[in-house]
C-alpha cells in the first residue's frame, strides 16, 4: 500500500501535505504544532494541554465552542490532543466542507487572542483539573503515565515532568501565559498541515494559500534543552507504588533509540515478539502457561527525540505477590536475552504489523495524522511509505543483538504497583 504524498511549503513556513484518495466523499484536515509538554517552563506543568483546550474557546470570527458546533453541523468530527512534544488538531469532514475546516484552523492560528477571556481560562482550567481526576487520580494505576517518564528521564529533561500537570501549576496559569505561548509556538513555521482524502488538489492549494498564506511567521521558537541521554540507564531504577488496586501491576521500561532511528526498528519488533498477540511470549508464558497474570503486553512509546522507551506491561492475577510477578516477568526478558528470537517469531510479528498497518490507515483521518507525524518528526512525510520495509529489513540476529545490548538489568526501570495493604521491598 502506497499513500500518495504531495508536499510543499508556504512562504510563511507552513508545511503542507496533500494526499488524495477519492474512495469515499470524506476529507481530513490535520494540523500538528511542534510543541508539547516538553516546551513548558518550570512551574507551568500541564500548560501545553490546557492551551489545547483554549483553542476551542473561540478566535476572532468564531465564538466559544462554535468550532465544535460548526464542524458537527457540517457532519464532521473533530478533536485535538497533546503529547510530550507535539499538539494536534483535526477534523474529518464530508468533502464539500473542506474549506470550513481550513478556515476554522486558520482563524485560530491567525487570530486566537482577541476573544480570550479570564472566564474561559478559568472554566477550562477546572475542566482540565477534572480530566486529571478522571484519568489519573481516580483510576487504578492512573498515575503510571506520569510516574514512568519521571522515572526514566532525569529531572532537567523535557520529558521528565507530568503532561497533564499538577493542580498547583494548573492554578498558576494566566492569560499572559496563554498569549506568550500562542505567539511563541502557534505559528505557521512551527506547524504541519495535512489534507487527506477526497479533494481537488488545485482547489485545496488555493484555499490553503488564501486562508493560511497571510499569517505571519513566528520570530523563532526557543530551542528545547538538550534531549540526548546516554543509550542506557547505566543502573537499575525502581519505584514501588502502593495504590488502591486489587492486583499488582508491573511496568519495565528500557531505554531504546528514538523512534525512526535505524536502531529503533529491532526494538519495535522485539516489543511485538514479547507482547503483541496471544502467541507472543509474555501472554503465552504468564497469562496462559503460568496463569499468574490477567493481562500482558509490550510496546514502544514512540518518542522521536532523545530516547524512546520499550515498555513491558503486565497485570497480575489478584492474590499473586508482586515478587512472584516481577520474577516471572524478568525471567521472560532474560530468556529473550539468552536465547534470542526465532525466524518464526519475527515472521509472526511482521505479519501482524503488516495487517494492522493497512487496516489502521483505512480512514482519511488516520492517514492525515500519520503524514503530519512523519513530516514533524522525520522531516519528510513520504517516509511513511518506507515504514513496512524498514521493519521487514530487521533480522532475527539484529533483534537478538539488541536484546543483549539493551534489555539487561542496567537498562531496566521498574515501576511496580501493589495493593495498598501489601509490603514490598523498595
Amino acid at each position: 500500500m502506497q499513500i500518495p504524498v504531495d508536499t510543499y511549503t508556504l512562504p510563511n513556513g507552513l508545511r503542507v501535505i496533500l494526499s488524495e484518495d477519492h474512495a469515499t466523499p470524506v476529507v481530513a484536515v490535520n494540523l500538528w504544532y511542534h510543541v508539547g509538554s516538553a516546551n513548558e517552563r518550570e512551574g507551568r506543568t500541564g500548560f501545553a494541554h490546557l492551551f489545547e483546550h483554549m483553542l476551542f474557546q473561540g478566535s476572532e470570527h468564531v465564538g466559544a465552542n462554535e468550532h465544535f458546533e460548526l464542524v458537527q453541523r457540517a457532519g464532521g468530527t473533530l478533536n485535538g490532543s497533546t503529547w510530550l512534544d507535539r499538539t494536534n488538531y483535526y477534523e474529518t469532514m464530508p468533502s464539500h466542507h473542506l474549506e470550513l475546516a481550513l478556515w476554522l484552523e486558520a482563524d485560530r492560528m491567525a487570530r486566537l487572542l482577541p476573544t480570550m477571556t479570564q472566564e474561559n481560562l478559568d472554566t477550562q482550567r477546572d475542566v482540565v483539573k477534572n480530566e486529571r481526576r478522571w484519568s489519573v487520580d481516580n483510576q487504578p494505576y492512573g498515575t503510571w503515565w506520569e510516574k514512568l517518564p519521571a522515572l526514566c528521564f532525569p529531572p532537567e529533561h523535557p520529558f521528565h515532568h507530568s503532561l497533564i500537570g499538577s493542580m498547583e501549576d494548573l492554578s498558576a496559569a494566566s492569560l499572559e501565559d496563554v498569549a506568550e505561548f500562542f505567539r511563541t509556538f502557534y505559528t505557521p513555521d512551527n506547524a504541519v498541515l495535512t489534507i487527506a482524502g477526497d479533494f481537488d488538489p488545485a482547489a485545496a492549494r488555493e484555499m490553503v494559500a488564501r486562508h493560511f498564506g497571510p499569517i505571519p511567521p513566528g520570530t523563532g521558537r526557543p530551542a528545547l534543552p538538550p534531549m540526548a541521554v546516554p543509550p542506557t540507564f547505566g543502573a537499575p531504577r525502581r519505584e514501588v507504588v502502593p495504590d488502591a488496586v486489587v492486583a499488582s501491576r508491573i511496568f519495565l521500561a528500557f531505554r531504546i533509540p528514538p523512534a525512526g532511528d535505524a536502531g529503533w526498528y529491532p526494538a519495535s519488533l522485539l516489543a511485538a515478539v514479547l507482547g503483541n498477540g496471544e502467541g507472543s511470549r509474555l501472554p503465552r508464558a504468564l497469562v496462559r502457561e503460568q496463569a499468574i497474570a490477567s493481562d500482558a503486553g509490550a510496546y514502544t512509546f514512540d518518542l522521536a527525540k532523545g530516547s524512546d522507551l520499550l515498555i513491558v506491561d503486565v497485570t497480575a492475577r489478584p492474590g499473586v505477590t508482586p515478587e512472584a510477578l516481577e520474577a516471572a516477568v524478568v525471567a521472560e526478558v532474560e530468556r529473550l536475552i539468552a536465547g534470542g528470537v526465532t525466524a518464526e517469531e519475527r515472521e509472526r510479528a511482521l505479519a501482524l504489523l503488516e495487517t494492522s498497518w493497512i487496516a489502521g490507515l483505512q480512514s482519511a483521518g488516520a492517514r492525515a495524522d500519520k503524514l503530519s507525524q512523519f513530516a514533524t518528526y522525520r522531516g519528510e512525510a513520504a517516509l511513511v511509505n518506507d515504514e513496512p520495509a524498514r521493519h521487514a529489513a530487521v533480522t532475527p540476529e539484529a533483534m537478538g543483538a539488541f536484546a543483549r545490548e539493551r534489555l539487561g538489568p542496567e537498562n531496566r526501570a521498574t515501576l511496580l504497583y501493589v495493593p495498598r495493604a501489601v509490603e514490598v521491598a523498595a
Binding site: 458537527q72 453541523r73 477534572n130 481516580n138 497571510p214 490477567s294 505479519a351
Partner: protein, 457 residues
Amino acid sequence: MTAAPRPGPGAARPYEFPTVHRVALANGLRVIVAPMPRLPLVTVLALVDAGAVTEPAGREGVASLTARTLMEGTGALGGVALAEAFERLGTMVEAWADWDASAARFTVTRSRLEAAFAQFAEVVRAPSFPSADVARRRDERLADLAQQLAEPRGLADERFDGFLYDRASRYARALGGSTRSVTGLDDAAVRAFHAAGYGPSVTTLVFVGDITPDAALALAEARFGSWQGPARPVALPPAIAASTGRRTVLVEKPAAPQSELRVGHLGVPRAHPDHLAIVVMNAVLGGLFSSRINLNLRERNAFTYGASSGFEWRRGPGPFVVSTAVKTEVTARAVEEILREIDAMRAAPPTADEVSLATAYLAGVFPIRFESTAAVAGALASATTFGLPEDWFTRYRDLVRAVTPAQVHAAAQQHLDPSRLLVLAVGDATAIEDAMAAQGIGTVTRVPAEHDPAEAP
C-alpha cells in the same frame, strides 16, 4: 491581515453505502457480502444468534465465556498453536458475546484470506474447549470482577444496571456474569451452550472488503456448507425495572476525588417505531459535544471533563443513562443540572437550530463512520441482529434528516420520565450523602462496592 469570510459548502459529492449482497446456504446459514475493494483487506465476522439473554438461569456469563474460549483449541491444535497460526497470517480472532448475539471476527490481507478462513470455520464450528483452558478463562473473568471493584467507571455502569433491573431480569447481572454465576461455570457448561446455541440456521457470515460476492459464497460453502446443527428459537426474556419510583444509590469509594454519576431509567427496545426520533432527541440532550448536558456541566459549570447521555439499544429495553464524572463537592449540584436538562427537554420543543444540528451531524458523519471494513461489518451484523430492513443503510440519511422538532419533543415527553429516575453515584459517600439526600430523589441507599444487588440475599 483580514480574514476571508466563513466559507459555505461546495457541491456535495454522492455517497453510497457499499452494495450489500445476501445469500443463504442450503443449511440455512446466511451470507452477507459488502465489497470495498480499495485496499487488499477483508474483514470476516460470524454472527451467531446466541447472546447473553439465551443463557440458562444460574449460568449467567456462559455466552461470554464460550465466545472467549472458542480460540482455546480445535481438533489437534491447542490454544497457543491456534493463536500462532492466525498470527502468522497476520491476524487475530476476536470473539465476544453481546446481549443479543455472539460474534467472532478477524481482518486479514486478501492473499491470506483463504488460509485464515479455513481455520476460522473450525473455531466457530468445532472448538475443543479444553477444561483447563476454560477454567483459566473463567478465573480471568473472576479476576476482572475483583479488579472492577477498584475501577469506578466500570463499577458505576454495572451497578446502575444492577439496581435498575429487577433481579429476575438477565439485564440485572453483568453481561459477563456475576462472581456467583461465573464461579459455577466449567467446560461442560460451555460445551452445552455451544451445542445448543451455535448452528448454521442461527449464523450469519459477513464479508467486507476486497472480495467479490462469488468468492465469498464459495468460501462459505466450502467451509460451512457441511455444518449441521440445531435451530434453537431465541425467546426474549422480559426486562423488568426493579422499581417504578425515583431512588438514589451511593456506592462507597472512600476519599474518591470524583463521583462517577449515572442517572437514568429503562429505555425502549431497538425495534421501537420512535427509534430515530429518540436518537435525534438524545443528540440534542446529551449525545454530542455540543449537546445541552455537556455544554451545561462542562462548558458552563466546569463540573466535569465531559458528560453525555445515551439509549443503549438491545432487542429488549436497554437503559437510558446520563453518564459523567464530577468533582466530589459538586455531585449533588450536577444531579440537579442533569434533572433540569431532562425536564427542559420535555417542557418545550427544541429549537429548529438544535434539531438541524443533530440531524445534519448524524447524516453527515455517516460516511465517516464507514471508512473501514470492520466498521461496515459491525454495522451489517447489528442490522442483522435487530432485523432492520435491507435498505436501512441506504435510507438512513434521508430518514434522519426528516425528523422534526415536534417529533423530537414528542419523543422526549414519551421516553424521558423524571418520575422513575435512578440516580447512582460511585464516590465518597460520606462526603456527598447529605447533599444528595437534600435533592430528594427518592430514598437514598448506601452500599459498599462489593454489594451486587442482583446477587444480594
